[in-house]
């Protein structure tokens, strides 16, 4: 399984950023992202300041730059889109490297890239420095409705189980001569995903039964946080 004992995005460490309370990190991230998104894209200096601040926090967290860089690939589809925008939008044209592109399109692409990159990097930094359980506790501290926190918790808990199940189903398909990557076999892959959905749904029902069996009445009981219990 992934690095350390957290989730795939978590990077184990003890920096001040790691130790900061989770609800503070979440609230700060939210405020920061809103601020970045609301900034007009002509204020280039403001984006420079955001980036500098963010890189400062990354340096403080001592999460290796390469670790974050690798996970930045989620942004690639947006980059592709941003690169296309100047070519396809209307408005006055300018010349860049001998190509004629739309000027408002260029600004839009810049805004998308700058905001996207800063937002993704900020989120990755919070994810890398916060254990999943702390993240949930933080959401609860921020008064997110308990039902939503429970759902997020179950997602975290069962993500690996469902991914492994999907992995096993793919292996079973390959062993029977079906290559999930070839478009010819996509209908079969689609049916597999349908079966995965049904299996996950049924697992959800079984988990619910198991919870009822242990006296669950719709509310998660308050459990002591790890810090407040002694270790055996």
């Amino acid at each position: 399984m992934g690095a350390g004992h957290g989730h795939r995005l978590h990077y184990h460490g003890h920096s001040p950023v790691h130790r900061a309370p989770a609800h503070l990190k979440i609230a700060t991230l939210l405020a920061f992202v809103l601020l970045v998104v609301a900034t007009p894209h002509a204020w280039v200096w403001a984006f420079a300041a955001y980036a500098a601040l963010l890189l400062g926090v990354v340096a403080l967290s001592r999460v290796p730059a390469a670790y974050l860089a690798k996970r930045m690939v989620v942004e690639v589809p947006f980059v592709v889109f941003a690169v296309l925008v100047p070519f396809v939008s209307h408005g006055p044209r300018t010349e860049v490297l001998g190509l004629s592109v739309s000027e408002p399109g260029l600004w839009a692409a810049w805004g998308l890239l700058a905001k996207g990159t800063i937002g993704v990097l900020a989120s990755l930094t919070v994810a890398a420095t916060t254990e999943p359980q702390q993240l949930l506790a933080g959401l609860r501290r921020l008064r997110l409705p308990d039902q939503l926190v429970q759902i997020a918790g179950f997602m975290l808990r069962y993500l690996d189980v469902v991914t492994e199940e999907l992995g096993r189903m793919m292996v079973a398909m390959r062993s029977r001569g079906c290559d999930p990557r070839s478009p010819r076999h996509w209908p079969a892959v689609g049916r597999t995903l349908g079966a995965l959905f049904v299996r996950s749904y049924e697992r959800g029902e079984r988990v619910h039964l198991a919870m009822l069996s242990r006296g669950y009445d719709g509310r998660m009981p308050d459990l002591p946080a790890p810090a407040h219990r002694e270790h055996a």
Binding site: M1, H5, P132, Q133, L136, G153, F154, L156, R157, Y158, D160, V161, R203, R206, V207, L209, A210, M211, L212, S213, R214, G215, Y216, D217, P221, D222, L223, P224, P226, R229, E230, H231, A232
Partner: protein
């Protein structure tokens, strides 16, 4: 005789699609007994188990636990008295850490603070998993997860422990360790299993469920030693296994 811990009377159950999984089951289990519930695939074993703590509701008949009828007004108390360990530990362990999972049941019963901590510690010690309290359950091995699943139920201090195929998917060492744990516990046990040597090792009494009714009830060693009865209920011993010889070598 004392009041049975589990008292199942003429229990029938039809699933919503009309399939009659149970058609009049009578079963009494007394305090301190360890009973194996045997039967072929589809016999209705899991269906019966789900009635014992009120997850399924009977179409006809009744279940009571130490005199308390299983039904709406006392479901919470029934679920404290009857601890069910499900077949797949991934269905049973849904919290972020082993500690929280074991604490979930007793916390639902209203335990807090030191009382809750003590319960969790004791349950984890009973299954030898006290060093794993802070680990996420999905990073444990299958055998360890099964043990934690047993601990989640022990933490509720049930009067009856009901296990659905506890030895399935365990390697031989984990299977034996689980047997040691079960033997060390001072509770009534009802164990669904296809693992006949395991039933013989742990349970002096065996009950066979076949086509939704109890088809045999008696000493495990007599049942396993009766080839004609075994064949009738689609039960088969592993190649070369001799139940009477095996009992002779059983650890005390």
């Amino acid at each position: 005789m004392s009041e049975p811990v589990l008292d199942v009377r003429r229990l029938a159950h039809a699933y919503p699609d009309g399939h009659e999984a149970l058609r009049g089951v009578d079963l009494h289990v007394h305090r301190g007994e360890r009973v194996a519930l045997l039967g072929p695939n589809g016999a209705g074993k899991t269906t019966l188990v789900l009635h014992l703590n009120g997850i399924l509701t009977p179409t006809a008949g009744s279940v009571s636990v130490s005199g308390l009828p299983v039904g709406a007004p006392h479901l919470q108390e029934v679920r404290r008295r009857v601890g069910v360990v499900f077949q797949d530990p991934d269905d049973q362990l849904f919290m972020g850490s082993v500690h929280d999972d074991v604490a979930f049941g007793p916390a639902n019963l209203g335990l807090r603070g030191e009382a809750l901590r003590a319960r969790v510690r004791r349950a984890l010690e009973q299954v030898g998993m006290q060093d794993y309290a802070d680990r996420p359950p999905h990073h444990l091995s299958y055998g360890q997860r099964r043990r934690v699943a047993v601990a989640t139920v022990l933490a509720m201090e049930p009067e009856v422990l009901v296990l659905d195929e506890p030895s399935s998917n365990l390697d031989p060492a984990s299977r034996r360790e689980l047997a040691d744990i079960l033997r060390s516990l001072d509770v009534t046990v009802l164990m669904v299993t296809h693992d006949l040597p395991y039933a013989l090792e742990l349970c002096p009494r065996a009950v066979v469920l076949h086509d939704g009714v109890i088809a045999a009830d008696g000493a495990t060693v007599d049942l396993l030693g009766d080839p004609e009865q075994m064949a009738r209920h689609r039960l088969e011993l592993p190649f070369g296994f001799d139940p009477r010889a095996a009992l002779g070598h059983r650890p005390a």
